[in-house]
């Protein structure tokens, strides 16, 4: 299996404070990884290091074999990594169509000539409609983002990351602020979207252990900046001490998995189209 993203013995300090110590982690093609851990464990710092926003104090982060430490968001997008945010993060006055168009315009390199028409660009329009379709936002295309519901805003944020057609996507708590009932449908949508859009890997930070148990291929638990465990859910949730360290609750019920980006209940033809 090819490795998409690899972090090797990454340390990150804020002054004297070690936010991450010797964190190693890899994401293989087709994997869905959840990062868990108590508040202050270093999850967001890790996401920032993995997305090239922060340069690690020592150690190395490589995407498809090349170093991406501190390369910055634009270059990151160009190389095939996208990111969704923990808090709702939209362009309030831009419509859904425009928001998705921003990402499509970057991907298709349309901004070199300020006189180029946007509305007559078929390729951008198609890309926008394709993503809107996947995320059930078609009927909202001409609404400004501020007029969307909280859940739709969250979806739009993730959808705009998808419009970059990334290989790997990192999402900080995709379901935070969403009601428990909707959480599963959002996760299902996300995984379905990955298949359709050809996304090869997901890293998410997630607090909801039900979701983590059900959808992850691997769980990386952080505690005080160190990797406490890096296990498959079956193994992870058999260890009460581990779970207690992460959330301090009983293990959730393991349900049949619906996550893996490669193997699923999809028909063979759909799969070959996606992967």
């Amino acid at each position: 299996m090819t490795t998409l993203l690899e972090a090797r013995t990454v340390c990150k300090s804020y002054g004297d404070f070690h936010a991450l110590t010797d964190v190693s982690l890899s994401v293989a093609d087709g994997e869905f990884i959840s990062i868990v851990g108590p508040n202050g464990a270093g999850k967001s710092t890790l996401v920032n290091v993995l997305t090239g926003l922060l340069r690690p104090t020592s150690g190395r982060v490589a995407f498809r074999g090349t170093d991406i430490g501190g390369i910055g968001p634009v270059e990151l997008a160009r190389r095939g990594m996208a990111r969704g945010f923990q808090l709702v993060n939209v362009f309030p006055e831009l419509t859904v169509r425009e928001t998705l168009g921003v990402a499509a315009s970057s991907r298709l390199k349309r901004t070199g000539n300020p006189l180029r028409s946007l509305v007559r660009d078929r390729e951008i329009a198609d890309a926008v409609e394709e993503v809107a379709e996947i995320f059930n936002l078609r009927h909202r295309l001409d609404q400004p983002a501020r007029a969307l519901s909280q859940g739709e805003k969250k979806l739009l944020d993730v959808a705009s990351a998808f419009a970059l057609k990334p290989e790997l996507i990192l999402i900080d708590e995709p379901t935070s602020g969403v009601s428990t009932g909707d959480k599963h449908s959002i996760m299902e949508l996300l995984i379905d979207a990955c298949r359709k859009a050809g996304v090869r890997g997901i890293i998410q930070v997630e607090h909801d252990m039900d979701l983590v148990a059900r959808y992850s291929d691997r769980i990386v638990a952080l505690q005080a900046g160190r990797v406490l465990a890096d296990e498959k859910p079956e193994v992870f949730f058999k260890d009460p001490a581990l779970i207690a360290a992460v959330v301090g609750t009983r293990p959730p019920q393991l349900r049949p998995k619906a996550a893996n980006l490669n193997t699923s209940s999809e028909t063979a033809s759909q799969r070959s189209a996606a992967c």
Binding site: L54, Q86, P92, E93
Partner: protein, 338 residues
Amino acid sequence: MSAPHIVESTALARPAAEASRASGLWAFLVIVAAMAALPFFASTYTLTLMVPFFALAIALLGFNLLFGYTGLLSFGHAMFLSIGAYSAAVMTSKLGILSFELILLVSIAASVIIAVPVGFLCVRYTRIFFGMLTLAFGMLFHSVLYKFYGITGGDQGMRVLRPLLFGMEFEGGKTAFLTGPFYYYALGLLTALGLLMWRIVRSPFGLHLQAIRENAQKASYLGVEVTRMRLSAYVISGVYGGIGGAILAITIGLADPEIVYWTQSGNLVFMAVLGGSGAFIGPVVGSLAFVLLQDMVMSVTQYWRFVMGAVLILLVVFFPGGLSGIAGGLFTRFKRGS
């Protein structure tokens, strides 16, 4: 950039929600057509007011690319007016080059030459920091023009001679020139530059500028080159300012440091708010209203600055969408009613 969730916005920069609607273009064309017909029935005096309006409208179209679309409020934009004005002065009265097309080219080149380094320094900052830096550059420019007496004529300024239009010389009085050939020449420029701006704001480039205004950090994760885009917007707006300045200088017949005094930059901000920065047509409406209002109020009272200030306060508090916002609202209500 360490905190991942900062949302940047400029409070007064009302989003250009109209940007994607064709109504902006129609409104622009209607105003232009009305201006083209104006010489057939309006008084000469009214016509002499209109040429400065064309100049300011051009400058303001550029200003609003930065303010309304990119979310950067410049408090020193009169600097570009002065670049165009002094280009015209140097060309006509020092070098004896009278071709207005050449004057425009030199104004554009000079604006780019100044806008690139100044913008390079300023666009790294946003909100009040950007505003203060641009203000500082404007003041710097003012004192340079003021102090270098030998070159610029100091507070006396420099004379701007009547230019040739398409190589043609025009006889007759100054007013006849300004309300005749130059009127249509300037109106033609406004039309062309307005249409050009219409294309710019409706391009993927313009969309990226709006994304920056809305949320620069999110934009950068969607592949928007924030700094480069802001700089491009700054340079384009500078060029529009330079062209406006050259026209303005011809109508005044003089380039002096007053044109870049900080109150003049303030006037540009006032016009933008007056017209409404959220609409494509805002700059045109704002500069027209400003020119008419100033003329009206000044003829009635010497306390015209007081009146203008009061108008500004009322607008910001009650009609943040500016005049074009009010007109747009009435239009929508009218359509719904019928």
